[in-house]
């Protein structure tokens, strides 16, 4: 008998951290396929760049901290951070900005606080917010997919890859890039256009941003898979979407001329990807189920407020980071009453 004194319980379920992370990556597949259709094969390239930078940063940080890099790389959480960044960043972003975002995410977002499980902020959003503040021009150069789709896929692939690698004149894709739906909404309102005029702009699709609404649908699909596999619970995504929809609906009810409705906000920008894949990061989120509802609702409402009243067209990353700050407070006040305790 080799292990006397081993403590009860003597049984363990099969699921490991690595397995959880792999399933999250699998659930991102629909999003990746739509991305491939809309923007050509830039996502695999961006993912490779982000994964290499994040993995390198992880290995470096672990070496500096005198930990075994092999064991930590095995848990796949670095890969998830890289994949979320690649999915959330503009598709034709120069590779070195992607690499920088990934390195900052791992080094400042994660290891500065003690590594896996210790980070108070969502690492991917730390990286995202950093490059958004540092490179506002490149970070808002999204492609209008309708225009990109007019190109044949071969041209799209060649030019796209060359742009990411910095081997093409950025002017080559300038013709395809334009304001996103949220940017068009912001500038349209500033120019005192009516809501009908704004919605007629090419940046808009049938319910959300042109093209982006398909990405949102794919993220929703992947998110439902995560819910079905019980990797993610309903509290955070539901609260994010409900918080944003409620805030948007209330604003629109008061002043329909100056506010787009809830549906546009749900199906544009980073909403769906964020609600199911980013806000659900357990490490930097609230602990209890009740706390997660407060946390998610805060992200939804804050994202809406930043979009409607802030300088930035989308505010998901900032909303997540702000609510990360509030987590200790939320946790402190959302401890459930144990079984057998009477509410007083």
């Amino acid at each position: 008998v080799s292990a006397p004194g081993a403590a009860a319980p003597h049984l363990r379920a099969e699921r490991s951290v690595a397995r959880v992370m792999e399933l999250v990556l699998l659930a991102l597949l629909p999003y990746a396929l739509v991305h491939l259709w809309l923007y050509g094969p830039v996502l695999p390239l961006q993912l490779a760049v982000a994964a290499a930078a994040a993995g390198g940063a992880e290995a470096l940080a672990l070496r500096l901290r005198r930990r075994d890099p092999r064991a930590a790389l095995r848990d796949r959480s670095v890969l998830v951070t890289a994949a979320l960044l690649a999915a959330a960043l503009p598709p034709f972003l120069p590779w070195w900005i992607t690499a920088l975002a990934a390195a900052v995410a791992v080094l400042l977002g994660k290891h500065a606080f003690g590594g896996l499980g210790q980070n108070p902020f969502n690492p991917a959003m730390v990286g995202y917010a950093t490059v958004l503040l540092a490179f506002p021009l490149q970070m808002t150069r999204w492609t209008v997919p309708a225009t990109a789709l007019a190109q044949d896929w071969g041209t799209l692939a060649r030019t796209g890859l060359a742009t990411v690698l910095g081997r093409a004149d950025p002017a080559a894709i300038d013709g395809w890039t334009g304001a996103t739906a949220l940017e068009a909404l912001q500038s349209g309102l500033a120019q005192r256009l009516t809501m009908q005029e704004i919605r007629a702009l090419p940046a808009f699709g049938s319910v959300g941003g042109a093209g982006v609404e398909w990405l949102a649908l794919a993220a929703l699909l992947g998110g439902l898979v995560l819910l079905a596999l019980r990797i993610v619970r309903w509290q955070v995504p539901f609260a994010v979407l409900a918080g944003m929809a409620t805030a948007a609906a209330v604003a629109r009810a008061f002043d329909p001329g100056a506010h787009a409705g809830a549906v546009l906000h749900l199906f544009s920008g980073a909403t769906m990807l964020g609600a199911f894949f980013i806000a659900t990061d357990p490490v930097s989120g609230a602990a209890s189920d009740r706390g997660r509802i407060v946390f998610g609702a805060g992200i939804g409402v804050l994202t809406y407020l930043i979009r409607a009243h802030g300088v930035h067209a989308d505010g998901f990353a900032f909303a997540v980071l702000l609510m990360n700050l509030a987590v200790p407070l939320i946790d402190r006040h959302s401890v459930p009453l144990p079984h057998g305790h009477a509410r007083t």
């Binding site: 008998v1 080799s2 292990a3 319980p9 003597h10 699921r15 896996l116 499980g117 459930p336 305790h341």
Partner: protein
């Protein structure tokens, strides 16, 4: 018939016990040597007081140790022979060892058992107090795991007014199936025990709760219930959800009302006993047999013929393992008690106690241990909180323990942990949460005791200073008075 659980969390753990429960009950031969532990379970506190000396000759069924307090139950020898030693032996208990009375079987003539005088149906004409007095020397104890004296629980229930007798046949541990086999074979005996308990406790009705993963046991009980025809006894299938057999949770399941934290079932008028305890009580009343044996599940991949064994208390586990065909391959772990809450022991010569419901000769595959079972950092996924049957936040408790943050531990209700192991089971980072929380509770208890002691000393010290001060003041006053009187009276 099915009731839904009204406590949070819980787990459905894959189980292989159904096939083992379906196999026949193996009756173990009487051992040539027994080790009778003077503390049959950690929960029963102080050791019993032996009432035999080394060299004494004993008959089968003789009482060899008596309790010093109410929770303990008397201990009887299942074999006749000679007391060869009384001393420390390794035990399957948390502190690893304890005093045992060792008895070696003698010649065949020694084996004649002490004559038995059963109460029989005469128990009905005894007043409950008189019946309880008879039970004091029966050695009957809770066979579900804690081994509390049966009569002490009964007396407690009588004091607080018992309305419901709850017989626990849930057996939620994924490896243990001794109660399943007992119910299949001896349902009538269990119900006979229920009648005695109803009489002794004054309860108006009895619910026998059986896990709904035991259809054969339920059928056998139902048949016995119909034959008995006592309207006070009701059968209830409860969800086979781990840890649904835990007393406080079962009370919630059956009564639909959460047992208030810190209260015992007796406080809400419920007397809870294991079905095996009821069967043993019937055997005592109708056959006059003190508690000498119990059914124990011997299982795990380490044995060729996993089975339920009716074994004698004090039998070394190695003999039971041999009976079930212990193989030559080295074991990953030998576990006494269930897979979820049992204790790993190093020495297979430890004896069976009244609390021993399951022995697992486990291989690595049995335990679901992968190649690298290393602990990873907590990622706060919250799976533990969802599994927790008392709605605690194990991941936050774990963090508070790491921080040594005692106020946070209190705020997170550390004391409410029932140590069921659900949080460990689901943890994807393989953190030994239960062991950590247990250690944290023990530490907090010690800290609180030390603080109470320190406060006590401080108060005594302050009281003493005040006393000395008062004494000095009085003395000075007396002195001053005396001097004043001396001055006044002693004029030159």
């Amino acid at each position: 018939m099915a009731a839904s659980a009204s406590w949070p969390g819980g787990l459905r753990i894959p189980s292989r016990k159904h096939a083992i429960a379906a196999g026949p009950l193996v009756v173990a031969p009487r051992p040539r040597r027994v080790l009778l532990a003077l503390r049959q379970s950690m929960e029963t506190g102080a050791e019993l007081e032996p009432c035999v000396a080394v060299g004494a000759r004993v008959q089968e069924g003789d009482c060899i140790a008596r309790p010093r307090h109410a929770e303990g139950a008397a201990l009887h020898t299942p074999i006749g022979g000679t007391v060869s030693a009384i001393g420390q032996r390794t035990l399957a208990q948390a502190d690893g060892a304890g005093t045992c009375v060792v008895i070696e079987a003698g010649a065949a003539s020694d084996l004649a058992p002490r004559p038995r005088v059963p109460l029989g149906d005469g128990f009905r004409s005894l007043a409950p107090e008189a019946l309880l007095a008879q039970l004091r020397d029966s050695g009957l104890a809770g066979l579900g795991g804690a081994a509390f004296a049966l009569d002490s629980k009964l007396a407690q229930a009588r004091r607080s007014g018992c309305e419901l007798l709850l017989l626990n046949g849930v057996e939620c541990d994924p490896w243990t199936c001794c109660d399943d086999r007992l119910l299949r074979d001896r349902a009538a005996e269990v119900l006979d025990g229920a009648l005695v308990l109803l009489h002794a406790s004054g309860a108006a009705r009895c619910v026998v709760a059986v896990g709904d993963d035991k259809p054969e046991a339920c059928a056998a009980l139902e048949a016995a219930r119909v034959t008995l025809g006592d309207a006070r006894i009701e059968l209830r299938a409860v969800p086979a959800l781990y840890p649904g057999g835990a007393e406080a949770l079962l009370v919630t399941t059956v009564t639909g009302v959460a047992l208030p934290a810190g209260k015992l079932p007796a406080d809400v008028g419920v007397l809870c006993h294991n079905v095996a305890s009821a069967a043993a009580l019937a055997r005592f009343v109708h056959a006059g047999e003190p508690l000498l044996r119990r059914i124990v599940t011997v299982t795990g991949s380490g044995v060729a013929r996993p089975c339920n064994v009716e074994a004698w208390i004090g039998t070394p586990l190695s003999e039971l393992l041999a009976l079930a065909g212990l193989g030559a391959a080295p074991l990953e772990r030998l576990i006494v008690g269930g897979a979820m809450s049992g204790l790993a022991v190093a020495d297979p010569s430890v004896p069976l106690t009244k609390a021993g419901n399951c022995v697992i000769a486990a291989s690595a595959a049995d335990l679901g241990l992968p190649g690298a079972a290393a602990e990873l950092p907590c990622i706060r996924c919250g799976d533990c909180a969802r599994a927790c049957p008392v709605d605690l936040q194990p991941q936050q408790l774990h963090q508070a323990l790491r921080n040594g943050d005692e106020p946070a531990l209190a705020r997170l209700y550390l004391d409410d942990c029932i140590e069921c192991g659900c949080c460990d089971y689901v943890c994807p980072s393989r953190i030994p949460l239960t062991a950590r929380l247990r250690a944290g509770r023990a530490l907090a208890l010690r800290r609180r005791a030390a603080e109470a002691q320190a406060t006590d000393w401080r108060e005594r010290h302050a009281a003493r200073l005040a006393r000395d001060q008062r004494a000095a003041t009085t003395q000075r006053a007396q002195f001053e008075r005396a001097r004043a009187e001396g001055d006044g009276g002693g004029a030159p």
